[in-house]
Symmetry: C2
Subunit: 386 residues, 2 copies
């Protein structure tokens, strides 16, 4: 039986729609939803994060700032400048600091890269993370490359190359694993693809979800040396569970880093962000991090197995920490979203505004085992109408 | 007797010069100085902040996040988007949210404003905060308007207007109170000046130090309604002692806010920054803040009196929380800077790289009474050669 909202839920749905309007093509933050009477976000399955990693960060942070003068310095002092922070990312990025641009979250980097290194027409596979469509500067055209649900949203490399040539595009972006579906291109093919695109002015590869891809992580960052048109974007929010700190980086040619830093991006990372970058260079933290990373990968895989057993939905395979879930019992995605929120305190991403994605879809983050299990139970109950 | 460095101090001076090179036209962060053996920054008189306000922030923050789940949310969740944050600044800015652009520190705002709203030639009084010269986009010229020490670095409004007309400038920036000297233009004359510049495409007024100006604070923000070419920039780092959070805002025409948000600046403030914006709307915090603000004003004035009594220096009157100090006993500013750092752990701003400022100058922040007194004692001892 399809999902039906009560009158109260319908009223809440209306309010949510109003709040959503304020958030452009993104979801309202959990804090924004506090203003709606009758709902409390207990579990955020909308924004994407590794909650185990958040806990690991907090463990270190609390220990390190027990001495409150250290905490005070994070608040009071200007953080270091971009080039100094880049040195702290060498180990993680696997490239020299001169090739690293540090950003106030990946969104700042996307904005900077699109505005400075894309000039005419950029290929953007859709559905995708919307800033790649929206932050394109005036005069530049974002040319969509449609991914089809019939192909499980998998990128066909040959078709992509064909479109680039046919439409004479000078730039392309590829998110790998992709958002919102989590589809990943195999590494060997991906490397070849980048080689095939070597004549474009700019090729952006977004690896923000790479830590969830599996036991082995394969980044194309090192190819920047061979292909100076390549820019690899990496959010640190999701994999490390620190979205509130605003932190990310990009690997690109030395001259491009210099071009960006010449006219800005001076103190764009907070004291807390700088503290986090210090952790990335500590053996103890990274050793523990590897465990929570693999735990998140395992939970994601278990979550997929559980979701796949629910007949009312279709779940697409994912190498990121989220699943694109399609309703196939005739229910509306918005009704499911409201029901989960009102009855279970679960917040999921409605995909109605995703360019290139037609149908009834929600995007569901994978969280901790207990939370994922709670989600499964909630979903089953809703479909049973109980 | 002029200041003379020991051999050890000379070696340290050399290392500091190397580190300084990495920091472009800004001072190395106190954290960067940690790498130099033989020095510890105990008192940061280089970067500008109200330390009383930092303590007030920490008092509230610690109380509010004793419940650790709140702290966790600040780290884990995406903060609200720009337009939502702008609503939290209405009371402080005294204008509607639609006229407020929230920035990741004033430097991000300066970068955004120069790149989007300045097209040909912008007048920049010097000496000044260097990003106004450096972040000017390619193709735009920053035309210097010299301030003279003989006039105590005071801006002559008629001369400024004359230069704007003569050189057909289409934009101008005025920092009031100015950095690095703290000079302030009287409010009535300032309003007239803005009226006289109404035909320029853009007039930027930077009021980052306005909270230190005195008991009464007079902002030109409300004039944005009358003069849509006006942009008022405000750092929150200095007045509120929270440089590590990276937070600032600008007041500008509604259409300019929209233009900026259309293609970026989505999640540019951290969870900690968003928490701070909440405090600005709390009566208890703002009542206590007013006290620490006035305390900082008083300490600044007392510091001026004490500095003025030291015959080896000339100190320029200031309505900000810093003083431009000129050595007039033949000593070199760099030697004083090194001596203060090595012998007293005091870090001051060397002004050798300040465009439009020739001579032996250091910039000294005003801090807490005890620290300011310590600074005075240190300075007197150095000049006595003991």
């Amino acid at each position: 039986m399809t999902i039906r909202l009560t009158n109260t839920e319908k009223k809440i749905a209306k309010k949510l729609t109003e709040i959503k309007k304020k958030s452009s093509s993104h979801s309202p933050s959990p804090a924004m939803l506090l203003s709606v009477k009758g709902i409390t976000v207990k579990y955020d399955f909308c924004y994407l994060s590794n909650p185990y990693a958040t806990e690991l960060f907090l463990k270190y942070f609390n220990k390190d700032t027990v001495n409150s003068s250290r905490f005070r310095k994070l608040v009071e002092y200007y953080p270091s400048q971009n080039r100094v922070l880049a040195e702290k990312l060498e180990q993680t990025a696997g490239v020299p600091a001169k090739n690293i641009f540090v950003g106030n979250g990946a969104t700042e980097i996307i904005q900077a890269v699109l505005q400075n290194f894309v000039r005419k027409k950029i290929l953007v596979p859709v559905p995708t993370f919307s800033p790649y469509l929206e932050f394109v500067p005036k005069g530049v055209r974002a040319v969509r490359h449609q991914l089809f649900k019939e192909n499980q949203f998998r990128l066909n490399l040959n078709e992509l190359i064909a479109q680039v040539r046919k439409e004479k595009l000078d730039a392309a972006v590829i998110i790998n694993p992709n958002n919102p579906d989590g589809g990943q291109i195999a590494f060997s093919g991906f490397k070849k693809l980048i080689g095939s695109l070597r004549n474009l002015e700019t090729v952006i590869v977004d690896e923000s979800f790479i830590h969830f891809s599996g036991r082995k992580m394969e980044s194309v960052s090192k190819l920047v040396e061979k292909y100076p048109n390549l820019i690899v974007v990496k959010s640190l929010s999701k994999d490390f569970g620190i979205a509130g700190l605003r932190l990310g980086y990009a690997v690109m040619s030395e001259s491009r880093v210099s071009k960006l830093l010449e006219r800005g991006f001076l103190w764009n990372v907070s004291g807390f962000g700088e503290y986090f970058l210090g952790l990335l260079n500590r053996g103890d933290f990274m050793c523990e991090y590897e465990k929570v990373r693999l735990l998140a990968v395992k939970e994601r895989d278990d979550f997929f197995t559980a979701l796949s057993k629910i007949p009312e939905i279709k779940v697409y395979p994912s190498k990121a920490n989220m699943f694109l879930v399609e309703l196939r019992d005739g229910s509306r995605a918005q009704d499911l979203m409201v029901k989960l929120l009102v009855e279970y305190g679960i917040y999921v991403r409605l995909c109605a505004d995703k360019v290139g994605l037609k149908g009834e879809f929600v995007r569901v983050a994978s969280r901790k085992k207990k939370e994922n299990n709670y989600f499964i139970r909630a979903l089953v109950s809703i479909f049973r109408g109980v």
